[in-house]
């Protein structure tokens, strides 16, 4: 019977992966990954107004251009807009400047004027609408200069002005010696974990739908009778569970691979050239990894990874069991699609709770949810990464999930045995509850 289980599992897996659709979808996924990762470059390829460099002419009546120019460049740099703006001082009179703006979309005039109460004020002249970034850039630069001018007018020395305008350094000191300072770790950790669980969310949806389609196909063609006359329902059920779990694990690994390829493509498009790709990727990955490492997330992830993986696989199995049982009860794929809606909602609840865990620090409700089977694989790892639960608590979630999986397999199999050979929806629930009592 072991050989038949192996054969059925292989057959079921082949049915999923040795198809044109699987290959087609995966090519599409790879293309989409590359596109998403390089979306800014794609937008740039198609071009638009955003590409044009705006020349900002400054008519300075306050005599602060020497301070304004570096301030403007600094702010433009911090906004990532340095390439898009060019600054020029002008002595032309304002009226001729205004008339020179006719039909010029890439030209702006900033007139800085003295102001009795507020030291200075500025006017922006533009032929067309002024973008938010442009306004913000000019406003921040003028205000920055104004602070310096105001400080200087108060008779402060350069050192004093520098000290006044420099940012305040804030140091966090924890008085509890047992608590490490993990500043910034929570956001990074949650980010890392959400990257993990988002594909799992989609993979489970795929898994549920595939099992439903396969069982219904075998039922509707009556080939189920031939199969079950040769192998026990338990073997058939196990083959579906193993094949679908293997499929989602494989698909998950492929997604990771596509992510890597997309990163490499990004570097190639960035003009690094093939020879430099390796180094660039290492550099970029290195940046991400060092951020993850510096915040302590990496060691935390490594510490919890074995348990997280076990929890993921157990959850795949549990969802496969539930999907298999529900599919066995239905007589058509349309019925199954209706019945699978609650499963989708359960996954969605888990996903939202995982996201909300960052916002609701220490929430008892979310902590309880981390022990609830079917939700725990989404919530528990995020809480662990956020430091809200310990590894032991995550281990407890895994233990609960193991017991739950065994329990639903044991009782689900009883329903499955009856369901796969049932072709009538009459008194369906009564039949299924009755089957729970049969060993």
């Amino acid at each position: 019977m072991k050989n038949k289980l192996k054969f059925l599992t292989k057959q079921s897996l082949d049915k999923k992966i040795k198809t044109k659709w699987f290959k087609g979808v995966n090519i599409l996924l790879l293309v989409l990954f590359v596109l998403i990762m390089n979306i800014d470059r794609v937008i740039a390829v198609f071009g638009g107004d955003f590409e044009n460099q705006i020349t900002v002419y400054v008519k300075d009546d306050v005599n602060i251009y020497d301070s304004f120019a570096p301030a403007f460049e600094e702010v433009a740099g911090s906004l990532g807009e340095a390439k898009n703006f060019k600054l020029e001082k002008t002595e032309e009179d304002i009226e001729s400047l205004k008339s020179s703006l006719e039909n010029e979309k890439e030209k702006i005039v900033v007139h800085i004027l003295p102001d009795e109460q507020n030291y200075m004020k500025a006017q922006i002249f533009s032929y067309d609408e002024v973008g938010t970034i442009t306004t913000q850039l000019i406003s921040m630069s003028v205000n920055s200069v104004k602070s310096s001018v105001a400080a200087s007018a108060s008779g402060l020395s350069n050192e004093q002005i520098l000290a006044l305008t420099s940012p305040v350094e804030i140091e966090t000191i924890l008085t509890n010696p047992d608590v490490e300072n993990k500043e910034g770790q929570d956001i990074v950790a949650a980010g890392v974990m959400l990257v993990f669980i988002l594909p799992c969310f989609f993979l489970i949806i795929m898994l549920v739908q595939m099992i439903g389609a396969e069982v219904n196909d075998e039922k509707s063609t009556r080939s189920m009778e031939i199969i079950i006359s040769n192998v026990p329902p338990k073997v058939h059920f196990l083959s579906k569970i193993f094949a679908s779990t293997a499929f989602v694990v494989l698909q998950g690994l492929l997604l990771v691979l596509y992510g890597g390829i997309a990163l490499i493509v990004r570097n190639v498009l960035g003009g690094a050239g093939l020879a430099a790709v390796s180094g660039e990727v290492t550099g970029q990955l290195g940046e991400i990894l060092s951020l993850v490492k510096d915040t302590g997330v990496f060691s935390l992830l490594l510490q919890g990874l074995p348990i997280i993986l076990v929890l993921f696989i157990l959850s795949f199995i549990a969802y496969a069991i539930v999907a298999g049982v529900l599919a066995s009860m239905t007589t058509s794929i349309e019925d199954f699609q209706q019945l699978q809606t609650p499963i989708m909602l359960i996954i969605l609840v888990g996903y939202y709770l995982a996201i909300m865990a960052v916002q609701f620090d220490g929430s008892l409700f979310i902590e309880i949810a981390s022990y609830i089977p079917m939700l725990s694989f989404l919530v528990s790892p995020v809480l662990f990464m956020l430091g809200q639960i310990s590894i032991w608590q995550m281990l407890l979630s895994t233990g609960i999930m193991t017991v739950f999986t065994w329990f639903i397999f044991r009782y689900g199999l009883r329903i499955y045995k009856v369901g796969i050979l049932n072709y009538s929806s009459s008194k369906l629930w009564k039949k299924m509850f009755k089957s729970l009592k049969q060993k």
Partner: protein
């Protein structure tokens, strides 16, 4: 030898099979007849182990039917039990492997069967692309690929033209010669008559007639007299013991209650002219079936 002993099956309150007993010896073909809903499929499902009898027992060569013996059984269902997205080759490998066979052996036998059924070119074609008749051939191959000891055929000729029916019959006869026990169900009584040595007629799960076909026909008292020539039909109809007179284009068929009325009919026929035939025949299985089931048989 397959033995079904006092088998009863309930679905809730509904009794689908009622105290059914029969046996199929090695090298024999057994007919299981009945209208739709008579309990044939339930009986087949119990034989192959898909359902547990509520009472009674089913054995193959003295052993209860479980997964240790199912590799020696072949089952052809009434509906197409094929995975239509697979190719013919994939489908047969699938079912053959479930019967415990290795791929090499399956492919060897598959080639032989495809050749025999003249569908060699469809080996790598998807089943959904085949005609109904060719799908039935594939289904038949899937049922016999393991050279079964017990072969269950539920409506095997469904969707086949007369030439292919003959082809199937030849194959079934071969399995009989090899010593397989064959259970056969069909709505076409002429097929059952051609094949089955023994049969059971089921009505509402209960056997209403069982035994050897020859003996059943012999024991059935009503006879048919075939006459060719000019005969007074009114006189025939008024003759004692005559149940019905049917006038066909080439002959007259007189149905009588029993053998003893043959002479009376002959007396009337003697008075006619140009008589070229007067023969007494047993009733057809269809007639026996209709009379036992008591309703029009659905073809």
């Amino acid at each position: 030898m397959l033995k079904v002993e006092h088998v009863t099956k309930y679905y809730g309150e509904n009794k689908a099979v009622d105290d059914l007993s029969f046996q199929v010896e090695d090298g024999k073909i057994f007919g299981l007849l009945g209208v739709n809903g008579a309990g044939k499929t339930t009986t087949f499902r119990m034989i192959i182990g898909l359902l547990e009898p509520t009472e009674g027992k089913i054995t193959l060569d003295g052993k209860p039917i479980d997964y240790s013996v199912t590799d020696t059984i072949g089952f052809l269902t009434e509906e197409r039990s094929l995975l239509t997205k697979l190719t013919v080759k994939e489908q047969i490998i699938y079912y053959g492997t479930l019967k415990g066979m290795n791929e090499k052996e399956i492919l060897k036998r598959l080639d032989e069967w495809l050749e025999r059924f003249h569908i060699k070119e469809y080996k790598d074609r998807k089943i959904k692309e085949l005609s109904k008749g060719n799908q039935q051939k594939v289904q038949f191959i899937s049922a016999v690929i393991n050279n079964p000891k017990l072969l269950i055929l539920d409506e095997p000729f469904s969707g086949l033209d007369p030439i292919n029916v003959e082809m199937f019959m030849e194959a079934i006869r071969e399995f009989k010669k090899r010593g397989s026990s064959i259970i056969f169900s069909s709505h076409r009584m002429e097929h059952v008559e051609m094949f089955c040595e023994n049969l059971v007629i089921l009505v509402k799960g209960k056997s209403v007639l069982e035994g050897e076909l020859k003996q059943i026909k012999k024991d059935y008292r009503k006879k048919n007299i075939h006459i060719k020539g000019n005969v007074d039909l009114d006189a025939l109809r008024k003759t004692k013991g005559v149940l019905e007179v049917i006038e066909n284009a080439s002959e007259i068929i007189v149905k009588i209650e029993e053998d003893s009325y043959i002479e009376k009919v002959f007396d009337v026929v003697k008075k006619g002219s140009d008589i070229t035939e007067f023969s007494v025949e047993d009733p057809t299985l269809n007639e026996i079936f209709l009379s036992k089931v008591g309703e029009t048989y659905e073809k």
